[in-house]
């Protein structure tokens, strides 16, 4: 996943080992950078039976794409690779990403709920980065649920369970997109995922799938939701959408969020609990 994962919890080593294992497990199924992954073994024009890890990730990604009218689209893998996001995060080797047909979209991917198969109708490369990492965080969080209080940080995608060591809800700070070391706002969070999409860490790595260009209207989009998969996908969509649209989307979902626009204006959902 090309990210640092850290877990803070008072739990036996074996339980933490299991939590970490979820990241390897989900990645082995859902990475577009690994030629041996299940995702890369999907064949154009052929219905392929998928593992629960891949199937659930793809199904959710397609639902999110439908909900956002394509602002979130998991078929951007080919275009991302063409823009240079094609190096394996660990080996730094350029991965051989199959060429995608022009104008592909999430509508070119079909799933069969009963057979649990995935069909790519046109040549394309799925990019589940905005979903799979969240899925791994959620599974790891479930693993640590018996220990009540924990914090999982997967490259800025957080799941904060229970309370911090002082017995208070966790405090999540949203960094200023431009000023190093400055925090835009702080929130009290408990048993929620907090995911942020921004261009200040990895550059313009989020494409607006509808235009094929890097999204630029938002400096950062943060979403707090019951699951990291939902929060991560929504943050990615919110980074692409118009800020007002994003807030409306989050409110429809019943989740909280904060958008920092490119002009450094703040938009937040009404239910945000500021620290």
């Amino acid at each position: 996943m090309g990210t640092i994962v850290s877990i803070e919890v008072d739990a036996p080593d074996a339980a933490v080992a299991r939590a970490f294992e979820w990241f390897r497990l989900v990645e082995s199924h859902c990475s577009r950078f690994d030629a041996a992954s299940e995702l890369r073994r999907l064949t154009v024009g052929k219905r392929t039976a998928a593992s629960p890890m891949l199937f659930e990730a793809v199904r959710f990604a397609l639902m999110m794409a439908e909900e956002t009218d394509g602002a979130f689209d998991p078929t951007v893998g080919g275009r991302m690779a063409a823009r240079g996001f094609n190096r394996h995060y660990f080996t730094r080797e350029v991965t051989n990403t199959p060429a995608s047909a022009d104008g592909v979209s999430f509508r070119d991917v079909k799933i069969d709920e009963h057979e649990r198969t995935i069909l790519l109708q046109r040549p394309l490369t799925l990019d589940l980065g905005a979903v799979a990492k969240g899925l791994a965080v959620d599974a790891a969080a479930r693993e640590l649920q018996p220990f009540r209080n924990f914090a999982i940080d997967a490259g800025g995608d957080l799941f904060l369970g229970g309370c911090n060591p002082r017995g208070e809800p966790w405090c999540a700070g949203i960094r200023h997109p431009c000023v190093r070391g400055e925090v835009v706002e702080r929130f009290r969070v408990s048993d929620r995922a907090v995911c942020t999409s921004g261009a200040y860490e990895r550059g313009q790595h989020i494409l607006d799938p509808r235009r094929g260009e890097a999204a630029s209207g938002v400096a950062s989009a943060t979403v707090m939701a019951p699951s990291a998969m939902l929060a991560d996908a929504l943050a990615t969509a919110a980074f692409v959408l118009d800020p007002q649209e994003s807030i409306a989307l989050l409110m429809r979902m019943g989740v909280e969020g904060l958008i920092v626009t490119a002009g450094l204006e703040l938009l937040r959902t009404p239910g945000l609990c500021r620290a």
Binding site: I7, A19, E21, R59, F90, G156, V183, L230
Partner: protein, 285 residues
């Protein structure tokens, strides 16, 4: 709080491309590096548009994400369990390697016809599954007791297990010491000086120190406590080596692993103090 072991830091580095990062206790910051400053503080906009009427799908998405996590968790459960077992195996190997680097300690020789008895604890009941190291050292004193319900490693004696071991909680009731009617007396010859030894447990290590004067233990204590729980839970055991002239400290209810770690640390320290007639480690009698 739990800290990543060096082994795990290493494993995580394998799967990542940057320096490890830990959330600061109590304050977690989302996202990371950014471009140089370019403008002023953000300002707030309060106006918001209304939704587009996709409420049904939206609610489905929230439910779908939760259902997906459950499905994935169920599907991967066995594989992560295997990971935990591999970790346990490797942890045991590391501990065995650490023990191998210490001089061997042979078991005490309490009379076989006088098996140890356990004073009935008022509360809470204990499952007394000992670590193999301590069990081996005390084999002659425990082998007549009822085996525990839960299996342990081959050759390691087990003891009475009325109920599963409750978690150690430093804020819970005061621990109860489980004493023996006859505690074996160690009659090793110890050299004067200060000696330390390390004892491990699943919750972390304890380093103990003993001071020997005129061949007797005059002081015992804990130098370093790396257990997840505060070492105060075994405070009543700290000076028992001085009273008993032996590392054979009692168990504390709700702190049996820490008791074991302290015992093993004392054994290691006293072994360092023991006079050796040849290249072989001294056998305490």
């Amino acid at each position: 709080m739990y800290q990543l072991s060096p082994w795990y830091n290493w494993r995580i580095k394998i799967a990542t491309d940057g320096p490890p990062r830990r959330p600061e206790p109590g304050s977690v910051t989302s996202s990371a590096q950014r471009q140089p400053p370019s403008s002023t503080s953000p300002r707030t906009i309060t106006g918001m548009t209304k939704g587009r009427g996709k409420g049904k799908i939206s609610r489905d998405l929230v439910a779908a994400s939760c259902a997906a996590v459950l499905a994935v968790y169920a599907a991967g459960y066995l594989r992560t369990r295997d990971a935990a077992r591999r970790y346990d195996t490797q942890a045991k190997e590391r501990r065995a390697a650490a023990r191998a680097q210490r001089p061997a300690v042979k078991p005490s020789s309490a009379p076989a016809e006088a098996p140890a008895t356990v004073a009935a604890p008022k509360r809470p009941a204990l499952a007394r599954v000992r670590s193999p190291q301590r069990s081996a050292a005390r084999a002659s004193t425990v082998d007549t007791l009822t085996p525990a319900a839960e299996s342990s490693s081959a050759g390691a004696p087990r003891e009475i297990a009325p109920v599963p071991l409750p978690a150690v909680d430093a804020t819970g009731p005061t621990p109860i010491a489980i004493t023996r009617e006859s505690t074996p007396v160690w009659a090793a010859k110890w050299r004067d000086g200060t000696y330390t030894g390390l004892g491990d447990s699943p919750h972390g290590d304890i380093e103990a120190r003993v001071v020997i004067k005129d061949g007797r233990i005059v002081e015992a204590g804990i130098v370093t406590c790396d257990t997840r729980y505060p070492c105060s839970v075994i405070d009543p055991l700290i000076h028992q080596p001085v009273e008993r002239q032996s590392p054979d400290v009692d168990y504390m209810s709700r702190a049996t692993e820490s008791s074991d770690a302290y015992y093993n640390a004392l054994v290691a320290a006293l072994d360092n103090a023991a006079e050796r007639s040849s290249s072989e480690a001294t056998i305490p009698k």
